[in-house]
């Protein structure tokens, strides 16, 4: 029983990180319809940003989330309003797939040029602490990461549900033409949504940087994870990302514990294929799909 509970705990903590890392991808996919293959770059850029803040100025990565989020918000906004918008307006949404793939490749090599090929880690004071709850054991850094992930997901959910900005994003996602006729600047909102997605990805990167080692090449895995989370949980909402992330974490933990760690990725992709066959819109469906 202890082993089962420990596995559940491990899965929840891992899932929380997956959720946060995927929510920006989910939002951009849901609102703009773009499969953003640059997503992992924003995650890794967040981790490198946290490394710089921590290494150069001594700012804790959890505090550094704010400036990192702001910077990546700006980067994401400009990136969408220029490169992606040009590609989409001159060709089609499919063009964005190729463009984001190309930008991701260039950015990955750019990051490697700046930060070098070496593996990096961020080590704040609580990195090596652990908590014991009866027979269960968990490292503090992962619990902190889970807590920060949940807080950020709730904040994003509140922003989308309760603010004018959030309502505008939802309106744009549901009926772009109607939103435009109502006086909303849809192009600008697309840029802002993309910026928000990049900011969330950067925030998750800052948290991931304290949990595990990373290099520029890690971005591929985080884009892939985000894609799986969105397929599992559903498109466009923090709740979908949370459900998908937690499910992915559980699949990972239970496969590792009871079948074999070497089969975790096989299990993840098996569930991905099954989900695409059985419920392609994910467990919670497309948050904006019904109105389209």
């Amino acid at each position: 029983m202890t082993l089962f509970l420990q596995t559940v705990l491990n899965g929840l903590v891992l899932g929380g990180i997956y959720s946060l890392a995927a929510v920006g991808f989910s939002l951009v996919f849901g609102v703009l319809g773009i499969v953003n293959l640059t997503h992992g770059i924003f995650v890794v850029a967040g981790a490198y940003g946290a490394l710089l803040f921590f290494g150069q100025i001594g700012i804790d990565p959890l505090v550094a989330i704010i400036p990192i989020g702001l910077v990546l918000f700006a980067v994401g906004y400009v990136y969408q309003r220029t490169i992606i918008q040009w590609a989409v307006s001159r060709a089609s949404l499919v063009a964005s797939l190729v463009v984001t793939f190309g930008v991701a490749m260039m950015a990955r090599n750019g990051l490697q040029l700046v930060f070098g090929p070496d593996v990096h880690t961020i080590t704040p004071a609580y990195s090596f602490m652990s908590l014991t709850l009866g027979p269960l054991r968990m490292d503090v850094v992962r619990l902190v990461a889970l807590g920060a992930s949940l807080v950020l997901l709730v904040v994003l959910a509140l922003v989308l549900a309760r603010t004018h900005f959030g309502r505008a994003i939802r309106a744009t996602a549901q009926q772009p033409l109607a939103a435009e006729l109502s006086g909303l600047n849809v192009r600008n909102l697309h840029g802002l949504t993309f910026g928000l997605g990049a900011a969330m990805a950067g925030a998750s990167g800052a948290i991931i940087g304290i949990v595990q080692p990373f290099t520029a090449a890690s971005e591929v895995a985080w884009t892939l994870n985000a894609f799986i989370v969105v397929v599992l949980g559903g498109i466009g909402s923090p709740a979908g990302a949370l459900v998908g992330g937690l499910l992915l974490g559980m699949i990972n933990a239970f496969t590792a514990q009871y079948i074999g760690p070497s089969l975790t990725q096989a299990a993840m992709f098996l569930v991905l294929v099954l989900m695409l066959l059985v419920r392609p819109s994910g467990l919670l469906g497309n948050a904006f799909g019904e109105s389209r």
Partner: protein, 407 residues
């Protein structure tokens, strides 16, 4: 007339382009081809190996004034490209260089890259000397022109088991975590066979995928069984992840032994004082008592490297450099740059240099009795050789202090 001149010129240019470049020995320059992971997942160690190659070329060209083979003096040159840690890209690069007429290849880093690329060079009748692939598959498929500085993976654990049996208290149980790839899996299989042969019980034998983001569940199993030694045949990034999660989840074992990772500065930076007590392998130490014609002693190599390169010195640099030294020594002995003559000379080579005593087995991998790993333990921040006893610079610390005591 003009048209005829144009056609003649074009035809001549096409013929020149179609003839393979005589890269080896052309203009008194010996060119080594190959690819190295300068970017991508294996870039950290790939850069180390690359600087090893560059170090040997610089030394031989600048300090020795080149090398004399068959009465003629040659300079060395490298024709290495970034394979981005991608086997598919590496095979394309190697095939192109084979087509261009390169005869002598240096290896990439990682068995997953060396394996397909050495298959290309072997099929083309070219030679590869490499210090980046230890998988048994490289050496057990009948290749005659592929040489590895390291012993094959399954033979890399003999000295480790010897150390385990000599420790006090004696090691009775071991758990093994390995990455499910062409190198780590063979190394783990070799470790398990050697351990069981020595009467040491293997409690857990756990495979990990190449990309791992969490090992909490694996460590839960380790805590349930608590082996005397936890052996990890994993690569750098996974080793860091395992060690960090062991500390943060307070998973203590008397000895943590990771074959790859603890050698790097990234590992030291990530673990700080917790890196003390962790055991690893190294195939070369600057404190080793070896010397020879190139560079002089091991300490001389270290001094030359530090004076000319900026990366922190690890054994990968020495392993890379000795690939070129072995090539040159073989060509000198053959007195020729003929591919077959150099291959035969490499096959028979048996000499001492700054790296150690270099000799290959019939299958082309490094002779395990001469080129097997040293065991290193970080003690008070210094990498100390703890086995074999002949070259040991310190006694092993075993059982290691708990993580809490190392803080």
């Amino acid at each position: 007339m003009r048209r005829r001149t144009f056609l003649q010129g074009t035809t001549a240019a096409m013929i020149v382009g179609a003839v393979p470049k005589l890269a080896f020995g052309q203009d008194n320059t010996i060119t080594f081809g190959g690819s190295v992971p300068m970017t991508g997942a294996a870039a950290e160690t790939g850069q180390n190996v690359l600087q090893g190659y560059q170090c040997a070329v610089n030394f031989i060209n600048e300090e020795m004034g080149g090398v004399e083979i068959g009465g003629q003096n040659y300079q060395l040159a490298l024709n290495l490209f970034d394979d981005a840690s991608d086997p598919a890209r590496a095979t394309t690069l190697i095939q192109r260089q084979v087509d261009e007429g390169i005869n002598f290849f240096l290896g990439s880093f990682g068995s997953n890259i060396v394996l397909p690329t050495c298959a290309i060079t072997e099929a083309a009748g070219r030679i590869m000397v490499q210090a980046g692939g230890g998988s048994d598959l490289i050496f057990t498929q009948g290749r005659k022109r592929v040489f590895g500085i390291f012993p094959r993976a399954s033979r890399q654990f003999v000295s480790s088991v010897n150390m385990f049996t000599g420790l006090d208290p004696v090691v009775k149980t071991v758990s093994i975590i390995y990455t499910n790839d062409a190198f780590s899996k063979f190394q783990a299989e070799g470790a398990r066979a050697n351990l069981e042969e020595a009467g040491i019980e293997v409690l857990d034998y756990i495979g990990l995928p190449a990309e791992v983001s969490d090992v909490s569940n694996v460590l839960t199993s380790v805590r349930e069984n608590t082996p005397d030694v936890l052996v990890c045949t994993t690569h750098d990034q996974t080793s860091i992840l395992i060690a960090r999660q062991m500390v943060s989840s307070d998973t203590n074992v008397p000895m943590l032994y990771q074959t790859l990772g603890p050698q790097t500065s990234a590992f030291r930076d990530a673990l700080g004082n917790y890196a003390n007590g962790i055991v690893t392998q190294a195939y070369w130490s600057e404190r080793a008592p070896f010397s020879g014609d190139y560079f002089g002693s091991a300490a001389d190599f270290a001094e030359y490297f530090r004076a000319n390169f900026d990366r922190e010195l690890t054994y990968h640099m020495a392993s890379g450099a000795v690939c070129i030294v072995a090539y040159i020594e073989a060509a000198r002995r053959a007195g020729s740059l003929d591919v077959d003559a150099v291959r035969d000379a490499l096959s028979a080579i048996d000499f001492e240099c700054f790296y150690g005593h270099v000799r290959f087995t019939e299958d082309g991998d490094g002779d395990a009795s001469l080129l097997g790993p040293l065991l290193i333990q970080r003690q008070e921040g210094e990498m100390e050789v703890i086995a074999p006893l002949d070259g040991a610079s310190a006694e092993p610390i075993y059982p290691a202090p708990t993580w809490e005591e190392r803080a």
